[in-house]
Point group: C2
Chain length 350, copies 2
């Protein structure tokens, strides 16, 4: 399933806020609309955010394709800054914006605005295509870690909807299923925004994968009673030492997995690795609106006047991570994500 795509002259993507009740698409013609869609989580998931932001630059670039190059660059950088400000934690966002800028800047000082705009769109398309290919590849690698019969627990949505296509954690599930393995997925609801209930359950059901939804509180008992064979989750950012920044609640699942001797895998493309950040403690953790905790479907869940804390992510220390799965293969401790990125870069250049 393709979550977002460039259609004619604009970005079309699934409005994930409407799922699982309705499958609707947003048609976005201005970079500001893309920024709003990212901030409001109409699109979410680190790889999907990166690709959407790249297409946001392509929209800004096209709008100014008749301008002087200096004005074009001013508009480009304004759009890049606006898009970068939407979500502070996912590293793919900054990675995608920087990658597009570098590719376009490589055209040199003589390029016209029209040429710059064409190059922007081409690079955004390349990012999207590479994300889909990387996820398919990491899914195939990860499926090797799945036994012939497996009860898999996942948290949040690291599926097709979190990426351009295939997903990360769910790519592992899809590829294992396609290889004939019997998989059953325990889907954490993932409060406050319920991405598990709304998105992962919807995706798995659509793909014919057996699943059971659980409240986040029920995971502990499933581990206690030996009903989980492995955990696989995605990531919003992976630091150089293998610390994993992912949806709030991931750390708790990792701790349960370690306590019960269950493997805890993290699946993410290379674009999610951030070797410039030594460890998870240095990643800014977005605090989102209290309303996400206090209301569900617009209805208050607590008494009037109550306040809430709402950190959107937590940090899973690398010592709790059994393996990190990327399109390059399966990486085991001790982690050196800088080396993984360098090797991928060398192969690309070579």
């Amino acid at each position: 399933m393709r979550t977002l795509d460039w259609v004619d002259d604009h970005l079309r993507m699934i409005d994930q806020r409407r799922l699982p009740y309705a499958l609707e698409y947003l048609e976005l013609h201005r970079w500001q609309d893309v920024a709003t869609a990212i901030a409001d989580m109409a699109v979410r998931g680190a790889p999907a955010i990166g690709a959407a932001a790249a297409f946001g630059l392509a929209l800004a670039a096209a709008q100014a394709s008749g301008a002087e190059p200096a004005d074009w660059w001013r508009g480009f950088d304004e759009a890049a800054a606006g898009l970068a400000a939407t979500r502070p934690t996912a590293v793919n966002l900054v990675w995608a914006l920087q990658r597009v800028r570098a590719a376009v800047a490589a055209l040199g000082a003589g390029a016209t605005a029209a040429e710059l705009a064409r190059a922007t769109l081409a690079e955004a398309r390349a990012i999207a295509a590479e994300d889909a290919a990387a996820n398919a590849a990491l899914g195939t690698h990860g499926a090797r870690l799945v036994p012939a019969q497996a009860r898999i627990l996942t948290h949040c949505n690291a599926g097709s909807l979190a990426t351009v296509e295939w997903g990360t954690a769910l790519a592992v599930v899809y590829k294992a299923h396609a290889a004939g393995k019997q998989v059953h997925v325990w889907v954490d609801e993932t409060r406050p925004r319920q991405q598990g209930a709304r998105l992962t359950a919807w995706e798995l059901q659509r793909e014919g994968i057996p699943l059971n939804l659980i409240s986040d509180t029920a995971a502990g008992r499933l581990f206690q009673t030996g009903q989980v064979d492995l955990v696989v989750v995605g990531a919003d950012r992976i630091a150089a030492n293998g610390d994993v920044v992912n949806k709030i609640g991931t750390y708790t699942v990792a701790l349960l997995a370690r306590e019960h001797g269950v493997p805890f895998y993290v699946a993410a493309p290379i674009s999610t690795l951030d070797p410039a950040t030594p460890c998870g403690a240095e990643v800014p953790i977005e605090e989102r609106s209290a309303a996400e905790v206090l209301q569900i479907n617009g209805q208050a869940i607590g008494p009037a006047g109550v306040t809430a804390a709402n950190p959107a992510f937590d940090v899973t220390p690398h010592r709790l991570v059994s393996a990190i799965i990327t399109e390059r293969g399966i990486h085991r401790p001790p982690y050196d994500m800088g080396a993984v990125v360098a090797a991928a870069g060398a192969e690309e250049r070579g």
Copy 2:
């Protein structure tokens, strides 16, 4: 705040399904209505269930107070069986029913139905009065464990609403607050039934205790960032070895507390101790309706046709419990709850 009470000729109690939106009372005149109220969780919390069931027996007893003693006993035992079948996990339910039966049977074969009915009501009233007194006492004991400034995390509702009065875990908070300590409470939402958001937040707010609601998934990050000084929860049953059966998700919080060196306390009256059960693994864990997971306020949270698992309780192994607080004092490992019950019984008899 008094959660349930005998008024004139019947049981009056707060309808907890309506909180926090409205404070409404149920007026119950038949034991069958009490059984339904327990099964539907209009009343919940182990001590409150025990007292409500005892008053249910008093209603059955009063209805048959003109009958022959043999018929009276037949009606009594039918009501006891019906009430016992409502919730399998909370031990106070069976404890209260057995205690009332023993007290009434002590009248001997010559007692009239009217005398038996009076004795039933008297014992139910004694159970309710003793629960309130026990909770006040355990709150005072537990408050000694609370530092002068404390950020306290709690799960589910072990407050006034879970008991006849005062609560268990929240009795500790209330007594610490009354002693002039600065307490702030992190309230876990406690999916699926959201007792934290609906009941604990409501109670604490009403008592003027500072609180922040959190999604269950956010607890891990609060521990990671050093924002929790202690945990205190209630219990539905405590086995002889100190294993604690409590609301689903409690075990996960206990594991987080141990990982971060934060004390994890369990507050419960003696009536919640079950020395006849050697360890938590032998306690039946109620599996409740999938609809509790799949719907919130009547609205589906996932796609149509999805299924859910919904265990209502989990087992926190005694090795994760820093202390158990009862009306007899603070009990530290190694736990021998049989000795605690025996000592309490000896004092009562002595």
